[in-house]
């Protein structure tokens, strides 16, 4: 293969990988945000302490 072919394969692979990774992260963030908002609205709840595991550890440490 020519050097330019290798160059194209390398860059296209990286662009594709970066694109998929970024798209996945952005859509996952938006979907989670919508699910949380829907749940909080339907239950009439405010925001909770975000990390359940840390709060459990802190509670057991207090005991």
């Amino acid at each position: 293969m020519e050097g330019m072919t290798y160059l194209a394969i390398a860059y296209l692979g990286m662009i594709l990988g970066l694109g998929i990774w970024t798209w996945t992260v952005v859509t996952r963030s938006r979907n989670l945000q919508l699910r949380i908002k829907a749940l909080e609205d339907s239950l009439g709840l405010g925001e909770f302490e975000s990390d359940i595991i840390t709060s459990e550890v802190n509670e057991s440490d207090k005991k």
Partner: protein, 233 residues
Amino acid sequence: MRVRHGEVLLASGFAGIMITLFLALKWAPSVSIDAFASPAAQRIFYWHVPSAWAAFIAFSILFLGSALWVFKRSAFGWRLHVAGSEASLACGLMAVWSGCVWGAAEWGTPWDWTDVRLNTFGLLTLLALFLVLGRQSQPDGVETRDTFSTFGLYGFVLVPITYIATRIWQIRHPGPVIGGGEESSLSSDMGLVLLLGAISFTILIAGHMVMSARITEYEQRLERLQNKVDGRI
């Protein structure tokens, strides 16, 4: 209007790496045809080196997050661990992929099992893969976090070994292009494009880590809400 730092960093990083790519293909000088078997493929270097640089930053964040979780039980530390492992995997895979393609063009083989730099960097990327896949397959809990954070903490030892590998054992991977003495001289135009690439990749993975930390926070909030709904709290 609330500023979305993650998205702004992502967009800026993408713009930067695309400008880097354009300059690498159209503006950066060619290398000598005597020094390289495949001079055209050498232009892979303008994304390969910055992605490896970004991977080292991500591994450092992974180490910091793991240490914060293990020693301080910090929720922020766990979010750093998750963000660092995902960014390490993505940047590590990019560096490995581009390196393999360049190796195939230049050396005639994509991998050399005797080269220390290639193998320690490959191991680091596999560690990131293990952390990302392992975390997704396990229920979140103290033991899970302790296990993966321990791997993140001790796995970091491979980073300095990888960094100095080409300075001590130069087998197949080229020596350092910056900070490696007289042999590492780089033309100013090449250095400029490489610098732009390194800054752009740093901004891009910073954006990804902000987004990843936000997703982890959302997942934890969702879990707490679901527990509330289930009446478990």
